[in-house]
């Protein structure tokens, strides 16, 4: 069997910001390997460096120091155009604030990454409709973001992240703006996506959300404090137990 490279291979990642006079050390030497098919929650309090880590993983920011291989590709060697291509082909983003394009139908939002990749219109629509169907929103394809509930918007965002069949789905506090029922829907959706063999990295500060993952990486003060495997639990079993 040919060994796949890990989806994420971060080595001694350092990120330093100049904040006025002072230097802020957001990350101080982080090593993380995430294999294909894993479901990882990165946990940490605000200011722990987890957002910086997520930005670096998502190729939205570059590390000050260290090496980052995404799906076997050294990201630091890529220029702007190639980074855009990597984000388009290898990554699927789900944001806390949904981040759908305003005044644009759910279908057009899901089609967008395919459009940037140059997929033909017909195929694009078919694939986008299939992705919407997989998140249970086939009947809302023509709706504008403002006509959808928060949970529905986030499901559209998940469909948009999945439509390109990315190597990695990167979710930044995906349930931060959702109520309990919608949170359960989204986490169930992630479970299903994970079961289909996709790699998911979920960033959160809520322990009950992190329980959904198979592995939890805790970040504090720019360093990894713990990295352990766990049995994923459904969100509602936890919340009803509280």
């Amino acid at each position: 069997m040919v060994a796949h490279p890990p989806v994420i291979d971060l080595r001694r990642i350092v990120k330093t910001y100049a904040s006025g006079e002072a230097e802020v050390h957001a990350l101080r030497g982080v090593n993380v390997r995430i294999e294909r098919g894993d479901f990882v929650a990165i946990m940490g309090a605000s200011g722990s460096g987890k957002s910086t880590l997520m930005n670096i993983i998502g190729c939205l920011d570059v590390p000050t120091w260290g090496r980052y291989h995404l799906d076997g590709v050294d990201v630091r060697r890529l220029d702007d155009r190639q980074l855009a291509m990597v984000r388009n082909r290898k990554l699927g983003f789900v944001f806390q604030s949904f981040n759908l394009i305003p005044r644009t139908s759910a279908l057009a939002n899901v089609e967008l990454p395919l459009a940037y990749r140059g997929v033909k219109r017909k195929e694009r629509t078919e694939r986008a409709l299939a992705a919407l169907d997989s998140v249970g929103l086939a009947d809302r394809a023509g709706h504008l973001p403002t006509e959808l509930s928060g949970g529905q918007q986030q499901r559209v965002a998940v469909a948009r992240a999945l439509v390109t069949h990315p190597s990695l789905v990167l979710a930044d506090e995906p349930t931060g703006n959702l109520d309990t029922a919608a949170t359960r829907d989204i986490l169930d959706l992630f479970h299903r996506v994970h079961a289909e063999g996709r790699t998911i990295v979920l960033i959160t500060h809520e322990p009950e959300v992190a329980h959904a993952a198979a592995r939890v990486v805790r970040v504090s003060d720019g360093l990894i404090m713990s990295d352990e495997r766990q049995t994923p639990r459904r969100f509602d079993t936890y919340s009803t137990a509280v």
Partner: protein, 408 residues
């Protein structure tokens, strides 16, 4: 993808209709102004040209400044005065001395001549005595009866050719030909009627009468003092300058005038007059066009302003697009397309406004649309959109996705 960026651009434009319409209005006014103002310049140029051409384009007019012997001589530096006489006219008509002159006709004007017929009285706007070549030289035609002939001149016949206005004033709708009219109390027989010539802008060219100068001198003005004006017809329009030189040479040598002294006569060259007026109106057109171009430029700055606002407003959207893999070129294309679509809409509306606006008389000028002004104004508008769209679009494309996503 091209169609997609167009669709995205249209969505961006319709997202804020009022703002987009105001921006379009700026371009509309600019393009419309270019078309209308250039049409006004063009129209006035054509009007002046027609006015001058109605006088005959290959004619020259010799004006004698004063008549020797008439009135008291003033002291001080004097321009020597001359009389232009029949000898001068003969010399000007001499083909060996003046090969570029077809004809030279003396003009004997009678100011304020009153014509009467059967109790009807009218003051003739322009009554002149001249010879058989006068009508041709001044670009007039006779379309009823006959023109003056050389026999009329030599025989001092008291005959007259009338303009249509003068004829109407005297005869109404009745036939004027063959009738005898009184001009300042002297009888002249109407032998011809001049074809309608219209107005030259200041003067009704049909309020006119011409009679043989011999007869006019006999009965109305007397022969003293020579001819105050001579109308000269050059061989061709191109030969006008040569003809002018020949006139000066002949008159200077016949009257012993030194070449350096101020000449007592002036030669008005219609061709150079036309050229001068064309140059002037050309300048006028360019000036109007420039003013309009400035308003187009201001419209362009409006586009840039609105695009900058749009980019700022949609920073987050740009961040999302970049996060899901929009390359720089796609973001650049999106905003440039938006700017260009705005100017294209403005340009088309401006052309429509310009075409409509050019139907109205503006400041007494009937605008004539210059064909080049439409593609020019439209092209400039689109170029302005491109130029002023590039900076905001570039700003959008250069945003780092992480900064753009954080933007509130």
């Amino acid at each position: 993808m091209k169609l997609d960026s167009l669709r995205i651009a249209l969505r961006g434009i319709t997202a804020n209709r009022l703002r987009s319409s105001l921006t379009v209005l700026g371009i509309l006014i600019g393009v419309g102004a270019v078309i209308v103002l250039v049409a006004v310049g063009n129209g006035s140029s054509i009007a002046v040209q027609q006015r001058i051409e109605s006088l005959g384009t290959n004619t020259l007019l010799i004006n004698n400044r004063g008549r020797a012997g008439g009135g008291a001589q003033r002291t001080g530096t004097q321009t020597s005065l001359i009389q232009i006489d029949n000898g001068d006219i003969a010399a000007l008509n001499d083909k060996t001395q003046a090969p570029d002159i077809t004809s030279a006709s003396p003009i004997v004007p009678v100011n304020g001549a009153t014509a009467t017929f059967n109790g009807a009285t009218t003051t003739v706007g322009q009554f002149v005595g001249s010879d058989a070549n006068y009508l041709t030289a001044s670009a007039r035609k006779v379309d009823a009866g006959r023109a003056l002939t050389t026999d009329d001149i030599t025989n001092h016949n008291r005959v007259v050719v009338l303009g249509r206005t003068t004829a109407a004033n005297l005869f109404g709708t009745a036939d004027a030909l063959g009738q005898s009219i009184q001009i300042n109390g002297v009888s002249f027989q109407v032998v011809g009627l001049q074809a309608t010539k219209g107005s030259n802008g200041t003067q009704d060219l049909d309020d006119f009468a011409v009679a043989p100068y011999t007869a006019v001198q006999d009965t109305l003005t007397g022969a003293a003092g020579g001819y105050p004006q001579v109308i000269v017809q050059a061989r061709t329009v191109a030969a006008e300058n040569d003809a002018q030189a020949e006139i000066v040479t002949i008159l200077d040598s016949r009257h012993h005038l030194s070449a350096t002294a101020t000449t007592p006569f002036t030669v008005l060259n219609q061709g150079s007059l036309l050229q001068t007026s064309q140059d002037t109106t050309q300048t006028f057109t360019v000036l109007l066009g420039a003013v309009a171009a400035i308003s187009l430029l201001v419209g362009g700055i409006g586009v840039m302003n609105i695009m900058l606002v749009t980019v700022t407003e949609r920073t987050r959207e740009i961040g999302i697009r970049k996060a899901i893999g929009a390359p720089r070129s796609a973001v650049l294309g999106q905003f440039i397309t938006e700017a260009v679509v705005l100017t294209i809409i403005g340009g088309l509306a401006g052309i429509a406004a310009g075409l409509i606006g050019s139907h109205f008389k503006i400041a007494g000028v009937t605008p004539v649309i210059a064909g080049y002004s439409i593609p020019l104004a439209f092209g400039v508008a689109v170029a302005v959109g491109l130029f002023f769209g590039i900076y905001p679009a570039n700003r959008a494309a250069s945003l780092r996705p992480i900064d753009a996503l954080r933007h509130e």
